[in-house]
């Protein structure tokens, strides 16, 4: 019977510990290398597209954001920005006034305005204007305003100047060669301008903007409806495209109706009506009532250019409406 051979391995405790440590270290090294090679390389690819902390690029040719004559930069203003890697180009300009520092060096030219007046108004108008502007063929105007970020930024500043408001900052970005977008932040609203191949979209919110001023800036009249199809291509048009603007107009109509009709219907027979400071819409609403025999207007809206004689010639009033012209500003 063959005797069974026995083997024995003598291993010191030190060897065992070192062997385990070496194995663990080698495994960690392999894992780490794999992570560096596979994951970080992928991350670097993403970094090319998304730059988390791109420092603000101040374009030297951009104008400073406009500070309204009666406004000042709020001391609590903070400005942060995060953007995709600018494959095209992006630039911005801003006003910053922190607790510890005054205006940034770029805005030193504005400091005199800023310190001269402190009557900043907090009353924000919730005006909402959205418009598409096309058919502008004034080449000089186009070259001045729509061919560069600087030009679009100038437009932003002009708009804000007409609104008696201020900018805190704006950001412009050229996505493609002829596609420039600028967003301006005001204390209580914003203005956004998109330019693409000579077409321009305007979006204003929370900034009181006179539509006549807008028309002057764009050298084009503001019309409530899109131009008819028969309009020639050379005719410049500015159309209010956003339904919000229409709703605002509608709300004003409702409000004027709510001003006049409840009282005219609650009264048993309104014959004589006195209007203090009324608008033309108020007068027209009142003259819809056949009971009215006499209408007294005091201090008519001086901006109203309507003709009272046209209004009083209502066929349903058996007795002609008498418009008393008491205040000097009344049109009669």
């Amino acid at each position: 019977m063959q005797s069974r051979k026995c083997y024995s391995v003598a291993m010191s405790l030190r060897f065992a510990v070192l062997a385990l440590a070496a194995g663990a270290g080698f495994s960690f090294f392999l894992g780490r290398m794999a992570r560096v090679y596979i994951l970080q390389q992928q991350q670097q690819k993403q970094e090319l597209q998304r730059s988390p902390s791109i420092s603000t690029h101040i374009h030297p040719s951009l104008p400073s954001p406009l500070l309204g004559a009666s406004h000042h930069v709020p001391t609590t203003t903070e400005y942060t920005s995060k953007q995709f890697h600018p494959m095209g180009r992006a630039s911005e300009s801003f006003l910053i006034r922190s607790h510890s520092s005054s205006l940034s060096s770029e805005q030193t030219s504005l400091s005199s305005q800023e310190t001269s007046t402190r009557n900043h108004s907090n009353t924000a108008s919730r005006q909402y204007l959205a418009a598409d502007i096309s058919g502008i063929h004034n080449r000089r105007w186009l070259e001045k305003y729509l061919d560069s970020e600087t030009g679009v930024a100038l437009l932003l500043n002009e708009l804000v100047a007409k609104s008696q408001d201020s900018f805190l900052s704006y950001h412009c970005q050229t996505v493609a060669k002829q596609r420039i977008s600028c967003t301006g932040i005001a204390p209580h609203g914003h203005v956004v301008l998109h330019v693409l191949s000579g077409r321009l979209s305007l979006d204003v919110f929370g900034i009181t903007l006179d539509t006549k001023a807008v028309s002057r800036i764009f050298s084009t009249p503001l019309v409530a409806k899109p131009p008819p199809a028969t309009a020639t291509a050379t005719k410049t048009s500015l159309s209010v495209a956003d339904s919000v603007a229409k709703r605002k107009h509608q709300a004003q109509t409702f409000a004027n109706g709510a001003f006049v009709h409840p009282a005219m219907l609650a009264h048993e027979f309104p014959r004589t009506v006195l209007v203090l400071g009324g608008s033309s819409a108020t007068v027209k609403n009142i003259l819809q009532y056949s009971t009215v025999e006499r209408l007294l207007l005091v201090d008519m809206d001086p901006t109203w250019s309507g003709d009272c004689h046209a209004l009083v010639a209502t066929p349903w009033n058996k007795v002609a409406v008498q418009v008393s012209t008491i205040a000097p500003t009344i049109h009669a």
């Binding site: 009353t123 709300a251 109509t253 409702f254 409000a255 109706g257 709510a258 001003f259 006049v260 009709h261 409840p262 009282a263 005219m264 219907l265 609650a266 009264h267 048993e268 027979f269 309104p270 014959r271 004589t272 009506v273 006195l274 209007v275 203090l276 400071g277 009324g278 608008s279 108020t282 009142i286 819809q288 009532y289 056949s290 009971t291 006499r294 007294l296 005091v298 201090d299 008519m300 809206d301 001086p302 209502t314 349903w316 008393s324 008491i326 205040a327 500003t329």
Partner: protein, 428 residues
């Protein structure tokens, strides 16, 4: 200011409706006249306005300054004393308006007209179709906005309505209608009265569940009935219409805040609560403790009304809860014991203009010189001639009820919703 004063002189006729349209700035009352004293403007308007006139003012409410100006207008109207009966606020979108009704409450009654009445008025007097306004829209303006209420309560934190909060207090105990019973009154010749079957604590709601279900006869309904009663219609039996008037007048009370002739009629047995003579009132409005027939002398500016005090002619918080607030005002004025008869204060049910007449009538009843209408009817030999309205009401009820006593018939009426409803349906 001078030219506006001249306007007052230039106007020959009284003005029915005045519109004051604000300029774009809240500091300009209208048309660029920025420094005009609003109280003086209201003075001039009051000189011009007719008795049933209406004043409407466009009042921005965006800023604190706007609200201050709004209250200046209100104070201007309140300062005119009894000239202006009610000042209300209504809203359309962001636009806000004050509307002040002059003392004659005909216009106020029309303000509370139903949707069909408004549409009919538009049909009658508006020639060009209105783009926006119609009867349904008008209904929205009857109640001020929640924002108007909040603004008011922010500026008048001590106002009783504001302190009560919104709606009815869930913490206040409501005495169920089953805790009351109808028995012969302890007052001689007063007919039936209401007694407590169980004790209840002071401050508990009384007849709340019946009150919210009460009958509300609008100004237009009463006007319609009046026209029929007073009109010369050969083919209409006027008696039944007089019955309705008697029912509203005898068992209801004038709803002052809804116009000249509106009535609220209690739906249940609460209508049998007798008047508490000489300040013995134990349920009702807290203000009723200060308004007693024996101490009443003459109408004064300090009279409590549904609005509480004259300074609250303008109260958006109350205007939003006119009916529920009226029901919520019915509380136990002190602890009520089992078997105790409860008494209300009839003075609080009467329109302020008729308080003196009401006080004299109640004094006569309290002293035993006269008795109530139902008792008079029972004692009368010629019931149909002396009390035609009540007689027809009882005849109407008697057709469906074998009881012969007037009290029992009326009790059956208030206990039977169908019969109560049928009385009103006769008019429709």
């Amino acid at each position: 200011m001078a030219w506006f004063a001249n306007t007052s002189q230039a106007v020959e006729d009284m003005v029915d409706v005045v519109f004051v349209e604000q300029g774009p700035s809240s500091t300009a009352p209208f048309g660029g006249v920025s420094d005009m004293d609003l109280v003086s403007v209201v003075d001039h308007i009051t000189d011009l306005i007719s008795e049933e006139g209406i004043v409407v003012i466009q009042t921005p409410t965006k800023t604190q300054e706007d609200r201050k100006e709004k209250y200046n207008w209100v104070e201007g109207f309140v300062a005119q004393g009894r000239e202006y009966e009610n000042i209300r606020e209504y809203t359309e979108g962001e636009a806000n308006f004050l509307i002040a009704f002059v003392e004659d409450k005909v216009s106020l009654g029309r303000w509370f007209g139903n949707e069909a009445e408004v549409n009919f008025a538009i049909r009658e007097r508006v020639v060009v179709p209105l783009d926006y306004m119609d009867g349904s829209t008008m209904q929205r303006y009857r109640y001020p906005s929640r924002r108007a209420e909040d603004d008011f309560c922010q500026d008048h934190p001590d106002d009783a309505t504001c302190k009560e909060g919104h709606g009815l207090d869930p913490q206040r105990y409501l005495i169920p209608i089953s805790s009351f019973e109808v028995k012969q009154s302890t007052i001689p010749n007063a007919g039936r009265g209401i007694f407590m079957k169980h004790a209840a604590e002071a401050g508990s709601y009384v007849f709340m569940d019946d009150c919210v279900d009460g009958m509300h006869l609008t100004d237009s309904t009463i006007r319609l009935v009046e026209n029929i009663v007073e009109g010369d219609y050969d083919d209409i039996n006027v008696d039944i219409w007089e019955t309705i008037m008697w029912y509203a007048d005898g068992y209801g009370y004038t709803a002052e805040d809804f116009g000249t002739r509106a009535y609220d009629v209690d739906a249940g047995i609460g209508t049998f609560v007798n008047h508490g003579c000489n300040g013995t009132t134990n349920v009702g409005k807290e203000s009723s403790l200060h308004l007693s027939e024996d101490s009443f002398t003459a109408i004064s500016e300090g009279l409590p009304s549904v609005h509480g005090t004259p300074s609250l002619k303008f109260n958006p918080a109350l205007d939003r809860t006119l009916r529920s607030h009226g029901c919520g005002e019915n509380i136990a004025l002190r602890d009520l014991h089992e078997g105790e008869e409860i008494f209300n204060n009839y003075m609080t049910f009467e329109a302020s203009d008729n308080l003196e007449e009401m006080a004299n009538s109640l004094r006569a009843e309290c002293s035993g010189r006269t008795v109530g209408q139902v008792s008079q009817y029972e004692m009368s030999a010629s019931k149909a001639e002396t009390f035609p309205g009540l007689h027809h009401l009882l005849s109407f009820l008697g057709e469906a009820n074998s009881s012969s006593s007037a009290d029992q018939l009326l009790l059956s009426m208030v206990n039977t919703t169908d019969q109560r409803s049928s009385i009103v349906q006769v008019a429709s």
